[in-house]
Amino acid sequence: GGKEPAKSGEKVIKVGLVAPLTGDVQSFGEYTKNGFLLALEEAGYKAGDYKIEPVIVDDRNDANEGANVATKLVSQDKVKAIIGPVTTRSAIPVSDIANSNKVVMIASTATNEKVTVADGKRKEYVFRACFIDPFQGTIGAKFALDTLKAKTAAVLYDQTNDYTIGLANYFKDNFTKGGGEIVAFEAYSKDDKDFSAVLTNIARKNPDLLYLPDYHQKVSIIGKQAREKGIKAIFLGGDGWDSPDLDFATMSGGYFTNHFSADDPRPEVKSFVEKYKAKYNTTPEFCAALSYDATKLLLNAIAKANSDDTTKIKDILKDTKDFPAVSGKISFDKDGNPTKAITILQVREDKKYNYVTTVNP
């Protein structure tokens, strides 16, 4: 909750944070929260003449729960802005709720394009601090073809998650376009644990590459079973991999596309990593960086508007140009998405990553 309760007469804006503080991707939530609080602390819980009061809620990486807590934020806590949700799964319903209630929302890491646009309609109040999946999937496919020299690939994705569906499809389209062959394109459900049937099928086709665009938990178990079925393919994935909870032993050697690397020599990154380490005693990852960025974006807009009128805040956000964020300069396109570079990392057995390359849009 907020540090000190607002004194009467003081102008207050409440800002909600929706993140998976528990559940399968809890590490994302934890980092996101840390980044968010760090940004607020730096700003002294202030933006313009307003005191900022954070309200942090947990969506467990669940669409329904996301909708529930967002509804509460909007109608009970009366927040003016929301940072998050972290994952696409919950960000899509929450963005609808925020937009229809004229609450500004900046998703930090939810990368699916439907977060800001639905059925061809722009959700005016919704923005994000990260690149989007069409880009991420495309880069993944390019990297597979050009760098990894893969000719055949198999794709496994979670049909209950737009994030993985999106990535899987963009990867597939671009991989085929570039001359590769997709030998298997299989879906599974959130709760599945036994992938042996599908993996046995894939093993027979002996693909060069296995594209696993899910979060760290799922890819770890799929990766493990794949190796056991004798699949030798290189693993490739998306930003969902980056977590200390990844099964590094199994996934080592695999590559994934990401937003941020703590080893990035840029000074913004260096100073952020230092500040973060000082406060939390660990190295930040992408969720921390992006929620930090998203929060700064928001505070900046509130300060500029110096009003709690969300329409004004939204209009200022829309015109953001080259905002100096940790994860790269942010300018929003017409859909509220920044255009940013992608970092490609390789998993190492020792729980670290090899920096491979950065791809600019």
Binding site: T22, A63, I92
Partner: protein, 341 residues
């Protein structure tokens, strides 16, 4: 024997009066700002849950048919009505009014088709079969986008027009209560209870058990469908996981905690349960939110341990009791049903 007036116009009047009083109270509270939009939403959810739970109260509490798939029918209602409103209605009231019966009908029709064969099964076997059916429906919803992209499949369906106001939901809740009460106190309801107590005897006593069971099932599922249809017009986002077997368990535990065969219990528990869940979120705050599940579970266990027959254990408030003959039926009527093992 003297002249008897066998109808429950008095109870009906009392019930409507009570409803009017509650409605007014809610309105006043809302206007005065004591009831925030958030709690109003929770109240709407509670009323919707009540309608669905009344459906299961008929199926399980009165007809004794163990169903663990109630949420599937709730979902069928929601998806049917939601789709109609999204594609055709775009927030128009007329379409909303049309979408409600459509949702009910879809649920009822499916209930009929599946009920006919499946209701031959007994107790736990029926429970598992309905549970299985619920899972099949959920898989269907998860994959619905392959046939009808608008349904959204496993990622949910967003952008539903929000036309269902408290007034509407309250009205339908009252209507549902009346319908259920009238049904129970008719010979249809009595044959359901007879089947619940002893199916073979009921059959031999001339009750068409298949018909009665299917009727109760279809009626109960239609109410679930209605609840779903309202839900889809109150929440902008519906998702298959809102209709999975855990949701069915929610309905089940409401009906059992309330006391099997008690309308009073079902209505009060449904409302209480929804408020409890949200209330916990509120009371615990962000700091202790992780204890919510634990406390919820503990309350569940403690309640059933302290009231093994359910909170109302087969008892009914006066407004739900059967039409009384005057002179009154000897013995304590209105305490019948329930309390046995």
């Amino acid at each position: 024997m003297g002249k008897r007036a066998l109808n429950n116009s008095r109870q009906t009047a009392a019930l409507l009066l009570l409803a009017a009083a509650i409605y007014t109270a809610v309105k006043i509270l809302a206007l005065s700002g004591l009831l925030t939009p958030y709690w109003l939403l929770v109240l709407d959810q509670a009323l919707i849950t009540t309608i669905g739970a009344l459906g299961l109260c008929i199926i399980y509490g009165f007809a004794g048919q163990f169903s663990l798939g109630h949420a599937a029918f709730y979902g069928l209602g929601a998806y049917t009505a939601g789709t109609i409103s999204k594609l055709l209605g775009h927030g128009s009231l007329a379409w909303f009014i049309a979408a409600l019966p459509a949702g009910m009908l879809a649920a009822a029709l499916v209930a009929f088709l599946i009920g006919l064969p499946i209701l031959r099964l007994r107790s736990d076997y029926l429970g598992i079969a309905t549970l299985g059916f619920g899972i099949i429906v959920k898989v269907g919803m998860d994959n619905s986008n392959k046939l009808f992209p608008v349904l959204g499949g496993a990622t949910g369906m967003a952008g539903l027009p929000q036309v269902a106001t408290f007034d509407f939901i309250f009205l339908f809740a009252v209507i549902s209560v009346l319908l259920v009460r009238n049904f129970i106190h008719s010979s249809y309801g009595r044959s359901c209870k007879a089947i619940r107590d002893d199916e073979i005897a009921a059959d031999i006593m001339g009750i068409d058990t298949t018909r009665s069971k299917v009727l109760a099932f279809v009626f109960g599922c239609a109410l679930a469908g209605l609840a779903g249809a309202l839900y889809a017009h109150r929440y902008p986002f519906i998702h298959p996981s809102s209709f999975d077997f855990l949701k069915s368990f929610d309905f089940l535990l409401i009906v059992v905690l309330g006391g099997l065969g008690s309308m009073t219990g079902t209505v009060i528990t449904a409302i209480g349960w929804v408020f409890l869940l949200e209330g916990l979120r509120f009371v615990l705050g962000q700091q202790f939110i992780e204890f919510r599940g634990v406390i919820y579970a503990l309350i569940l266990v403690i309640t059933i341990l302290s009231r093994p027959q359910g909170i109302f254990g087969g008892k009914e408030l006066g407004i739900f009791t059967p039409p009384r003959a005057r002179p009154a039926v000897p013995g304590k009527e209105g305490e019948h049903a329930g309390s046995g093992n």
